[in-house]
Symmetry: D2
Subunit: 332 residues, 4 copies
């Protein structure tokens, strides 16, 4: 249950009430908000006198529920706002992994030349084998920060586990919680304590409800700047790397108030399908897209088969604005 | 292996060679064609002298392979041709089940008013429970035939099992092989012996390769008029009815030469997501769409939750032509 | 809803009432039984006076529900009865496909030498490719019938589609409805009209409830001799051919009154795991096992990798009786 | 590739060679071992002179491969050794969560009364909702440590994320890496630096190969004491909580040299199926079982539906020793 407390209730009082009732306490739009488990279906006796408005829910998707807030939340990605009435579909691009200064600068230049503002690149790679390239770590983060300074970019990068989450929060503008780290409460609880934007990727074996509940960890912990990202689920089909769940995206848009970003590159796993899928995502009406692009995909140290080269990427960009316009969005 | 025999080889000779080499024999574009299993990697000794051209394949997707024919095949749906260079995306609509003359006429009138030409409706319903509505059977087929005569429509309807496949072939213009019947060789072999267009739906537990191989039964049996239809696969996610596999569609477009139709209604299972998914499919660039629409979805005898009402359907139609244009297609 | 009518109601009256109330009518243990859809939660007005006892259900698993009949049904497989209080775990073995008289006689001799009574072998193979071996068809059925006469075996063989279901019913003692044919109402309805035992395999993409509802087609159509067979479902894991769902078997045993047979060979797909899985199935307490065995698996025309050779099979048989005894069963 | 260096090579030399060749370096049975990625198929030029024996692999399952070590590794769980030729199947039991001193002492007394030695209980619960019971944390760990001192138990408990992995390593005898944390390199790398036994649960969306590669992080990092635990994968079937993958267990036994533990409680999700599944697992021949048991499952703060009560647990224990004996194992 969510309770909006009366304006007369102070933050201190609200915090005390939260402890008494084992509830989460956040302040949103100058309102003191308490959140209990969804099992609570009536305003508890001791809170009645302090409560202005309350909402009950069939499950633990509460702060994220469209039945709580009917408008999609506005969330900032650097200087761009998505969600709300903005109609923005933001393109977040760059290589799978930061590999060298030369490589990341080439990527940055590509984005700049195409008027894009958000650069992604992995530094701590959640590889499934210890014998694969594991990412440049802190050195990579510093290269991304350098690109931010040179080009004015918003930097999006991934936390692999809780041991380096502080570094990520320090250096990134948008903290990406990867598909394999999505249940990691060490990461989620740290993200709840910053006000930086958090992009949570759906685990490939994760139900939609569990996915949204991961966002609840951040929302209920005090950070409202959350984006959901669908990047493909694991199914019996192995002809493609994963299966992009656009039915699930419609479900998210229908049931939740959070902006949704899509990652066709990881879903497909092969460059040949990325352009088509990107166009499909744009036509669906989404708040953003993550697209992997690499100066020379063949020599990429990770995800070589799915990254577009620069020519393919520019070709793709040309085709999506008209589709976006058809559904009332603009590419930014 | 596929072998194109020399022009000097007669149909009778080709048929004899096929028997000798345990191969399929079809005549395509006036060429005698033999097809062996894909395990054959070299032209067999006895066929060498008769062979003009040959193709080897890594698996049993042969006649359907893009490596055999680089252009998407042209297939007729009534007066409309899809595939090839047509750029047509055909809308095939109507109710899940034919329920009454009044209901199917209302549906037909809706299509007519919107310039559409292809009417779908199930008469033999492959329900999973014996206690559900099983369809009107032959009476339903006759109602569809009546609508064809009145409105000039192309009729698309489904064979549930081999016991009534002859009736379906007689009354339908396009024979739909349903997801649950996709492995049914009684149906597939009968479809191979007609020249009517066959729309094969992917089983919800079927791999892409198995799906395409179902088409090979029809192609190798002598009918080249085959459409593939992706309608959602079964995954762990139960928030939506199925998971529409657009990655798989990109795979089909990349690896096969068959036109591809999409069915967002069955995949989503809820009307709220059908419009968005339809737009995504159009932007992907596909040859057709199956969309369920019902005069009054709430009282539908099957699939009540996923059928659009007439207003929703007309609203949707208005939005898709601009998207189709953006990707070089036109809605027909 | 299931209704047991009063003893005073004749079969003719019951049949008439069934038509009036759109119910199925069967006679079971000299009782006139009507079955409506599970949506009916109260005895309909017009049936009240004729009804002795009634059961309501949360879904369309009705005749098969343990809440309807608390004991597992007894079903005959030739001279052996499984289910009820028999404690029998029957071994049904033989090659994947009948390939020749020599091959099937060797298999038969193996079973005979080991005191087994049920021979399986496929004649109409539901292959996913038209270019694979499709089975010997009627010739194979005749070879199986010959083995029955020579050895006194019970013959278990599969219907691929409805076009040859009459042949199967004529020649088989137990009609196997394969995983790919499980939704085939042409087959299911034909099986409902015979009194021969029907073994229904779960489709690899089929939920437990759908699976049991396939049995309802046979039960409600008038044939009570139904066995369920779990043979592995399709999951994201491709290291093995399928995933044997023993959790699902426990669900079936808990929720239904039908005997359950397991097929570890198809689930595993590799001979190395069949013995271990067979032992696990026996320890679970099941009514039967289907195990593929071939005189020379390496040259088998189908499923070569998963069939045991004769030595492996005999070795396995020696190990399972003690396990069966531990759980109160005997191997037959 | 794995390389066993010559006895003349010192640890310092080996460490240096490892750096030069970007290889992992461990010392196993007094042998200096280098491990490169499996892409390396020939002994590198610079290592030739130092290498005594080498193994190549088709993928990154190397130290865990049965082709490297044909015997199952021996791993200690407190005073009990599993694997090797021990024939031990260890029962690890206790409640899902440590909830109070009274509850965990009751559980401990139950194990003691039944001659068991290993107590499990979760203190950091990886719940999918922030509004659920999250575990007692460090207080719970101290209660487990208290039980160890009182009863002489081996304590098995789970690390949820890397923020408290040091606490877990300090207080647990066996560190459980949960299904949701299985990709967490913060945890895996910490586990590699201790010599405590690590039990890695398979993620419910994780392929067998990825699962084994998680173990490679620990093995290649220097800790050989690794157990694999299958606990059910997520499939389309929702009648049970997960699907216990016994085919996968046979695969693991065939391809790897690591002991395998099974967790039927989490797979099934319902107490009614746990006993049957446990018996199946024992008959398969496994190295251990995790079984959840609670003094009063109805009031359990997590996983209430799947925990056995004490009577059910004792009843189960009585039935498994004979099965274990049938397959050459003993329950410990």
């Amino acid at each position: 249950m969510i309770l909006h407390l009366k304006q007369s209730v102070t933050a201190e009082q609200a915090a005390k009430l939260a402890v008494e009732h084992k509830a989460f306490h956040v302040i949103s739009n100058n309102t003191q908000v308490l959140i209990t488990g969804s099992g609570v279906k009536e305003v508890p006796a001791g809170l009645d006198a302090f409560t202005d408005q309350s909402w009950v829910f069939p499950n633990d998707m509460q702060l994220s529920a469209r039945s709580y807030r009917s408008e999609t939340r506005e969330v900032r990605i650097g200087n761009v706002t998505v969600g709300g009435n903005t109609g923005n579909t933001i393109i977040i691009s760059g290589p799978c992994s930061v590999e060298s200064e030369e490589q990341i600068r080439e990527s940055a230049a590509l984005l700049k030349a195409n008027g894009l503002t958000s650069l992604r690149g992995g530094c701590y790679k959640p590889r499934t084998s210890p014998y694969s390239f594991q990412g440049m770590g802190l050195d990579g983060l510093k290269l991304l920060a350098k690109m931010r300074e040179e080009f004015g970019f918003t930097v999006v990068t991934e936390a692999r586990d809780a041991t380096h989450i502080d570094e990520i929060i320090e250096h990134a503008d948008v903290i990406q919680v990867g598909a394999k780290a999505m249940y990691d409460q060490g990461i989620l609880r740290a993200c709840a304590k910053t006000q930086k934007t958090v992009l949570i990727k759906r685990g490939f074996g994760t139900t939609l409800q569990e996915f949204v509940q991961a966002a609840e960890f951040v929302l209920a912990g005090g950070n409202e700047n959350v984006l959901l990202c669908e990047r493909g689920i694991r199914t019996f089909e192995t002809g493609t790397r994963f299966t992009l769940d656009l039915c699930g995206v419609e479900w998210l848009k229908h049931h939740t108030n959070l902006p949704v970003v899509l990652d066709p590159s990881h879903a497909m796993g092969y460059a040949y399908g990325v352009a088509g899928l990107t166009r499909a995502c744009v036509a669906l009406g989404v708040d953003g897209l993550l697209i992997e692009v690499h100066p020379n995909p063949k020599v990429a140290k990770s995800d070589a088969s799915q990254q577009l080269n620069h020519a393919e990427f520019e070709q793709l960009l040309k085709t999506i604005q008209p589709i976006a316009s058809s559904v009332g969005y603009q590419i930014v």
